[in-house]
Subunit: 358 residues, 2 copies
Amino acid sequence: MRIFNFSAGPSMLPTKVMERAQGEFCDYGKTGCGIMELSHRGSEFTAVIERAEANIRQIMQIPDGYSVCFIQGGASLQFAMIPMNFLKPGSFAEYADSGSWSSAAIKQSQFFGDTRVVASSKDTKYDRIPAFSTWKTSPGAAYLHITSNNTIFGTQYSSFPDSKAPLLADMSSDIMSRRVDVSKFSLIYAGAQKNLGPSGVVVVIIKNDFAAKAAEKVPTMLKYSTYIEKKSLYNTPPTFGIYMIALVTDWIKEIGGLAEIEKINNAKAKLIYDKLDSSKLYKTPVQKDSRSAMNVVFTLPSEELDAKFLKEAKAQGLIGLKGHRSVGGMRASIYNAMPIEGVKKLVELMDSFEKANA
Amino acid sequence: MRIFNFSAGPSMLPTKVMERAQGEFCDYGKTGCGIMELSHRGSEFTAVIERAEANIRQIMQIPDGYSVCFIQGGASLQFAMIPMNFLKPGSFAEYADSGSWSSAAIKQSQFFGDTRVVASSKDTKYDRIPAFSTWKTSPGAAYLHITSNNTIFGTQYSSFPDSKAPLLADMSSDIMSRRVDVSKFSLIYAGAQKNLGPSGVVVVIIKNDFAAKAAEKVPTMLKYSTYIEKKSLYNTPPTFGIYMIALVTDWIKEIGGLAEIEKINNAKAKLIYDKLDSSKLYKTPVQKDSRSAMNVVFTLPSEELDAKFLKEAKAQGLIGLKGHRSVGGMRASIYNAMPIEGVKKLVELMDSFEKANA
């Protein structure tokens, strides 16, 4: 039986990518060694990291004047690196609070300096992206930080705010899931483990003009300029993770790029949301205009039914559906690598389960 | 033809480990998913990280009162994390400078505070470990930092200094290559990409009493206490790298642990050093009492012969032998995973090459 893994991350990678990586795991490009056994300064890995970067630039249509970096430590380290580099004394940073990850970013920023929450949906349990008309921004902010998709609460920005301050986005859970105008942003970062590859690498897309504004007194490994100047090879990067990103981005290009990926992702999400909207058993706490195409959160009327649903799902090869402990219920994470067949199978289960438990 | 990769890192992993990882790459433990596709909070990965830690504790005979952490960012991030946590205002840190990596660690420490170089072999081009009798330590240091093996210059501590200050060691290039009395150290760290697995994970072994002395004001992801308290699962760790460490440490246990590994490594190194000592063509700049069993550095009389040697080596399936650009000549990195057959083949080439080019 084919398994469909709805885990919020680390999550499914495209089957074709996994099979290719397996095939050449012990012998990359007839070198007689696996890619993870080869020097990060050798010709083979140099070609890999250059291909990963070129793919990202092409797929996201990144304008000139931006650097693409591969950094370790997860998005959580970015929460600290951003203010360490850009929230200088006498300045202030603005954050929109749309969920747990935004809150974690805010907490790290507060550690470094004046951090202002300009919008929040906390008082409605993060059931929406705060309407832009309510955002209380001020002139002169060092930057404005948003979280484009909220894995735990199942919300996603359908558009981005116009911002005079440099706009920074944590896109960990929806990077390359749809078309985005990169020129609106001064910095985009994303942990790889949802749409791009395994955990252990963060892709950072940073405008060079913005990078140049960073504080001087930052330790080498925590400075964006180190990664920009050394092309992410100041020290040994996570070579296997970057190799996997090269393969995943090859696959995105083969499929037809973000226009096609976006179409497929929207179709996948619509299948589940249509089911939720027509159901009496399932509910979603998420406001319609803020629904995520990546993480669909829904609830059943009781914990007993939750447990029963999860058990039946597992028996049918649908795993990783348990909601985050802070929300409960179910969460179907349907990143790029989840085929529409997996989503159809989930919706069929939702149908039959509703009939049996009406 | 079997390839023997003498790269300084990332480097060879045990063939048995690579083949096992390949076999279960797309289907770990009959889950229908690769281990890198599974949640870091699920039962499968929980068992993996617990096994990796238990193996490390058993193999290195780590006493009670120590934590084992998995941290991203490479040893280079440790160079900053250590003083950030332990070099508090009014205190000072001591470093022994035995090569490029020590120097890099010193530079990061200087960024944070009073950093004193108590011993150095810089004036003899790092051809030795500075004799302990010459070390100028002072009472009250926050810690004393050493680099146990120097990949670039081919030197290694054959014993460790008695230190009143907490002793900290970068063991990136010789961890688990020989028996070490962990109780002498307050902190040991090692990037995985030489003896333990792929790049992208650092193993940190830290004494809990020492960890408790850390500064309070440190960002979450840069605090050792975060990794200790959350068992390296505060955020998503590099799951595949940790899985590979579990497999490599399984393999070390199967072989017979560090007593056996040390015997094999010494035998491998002896083969090459004996050849160097009896040769008129090859020389090593390294002092006898400081020779590394991990990285054997040697030179030929001219760059022409260097190039010729490298070409003939490659033709025989011996790769990665080119010395570091700052030293030149050759470097044979013979970490745990290099079989003695690879070393014998190298020595045979050295023999025949010497005869042909006498």
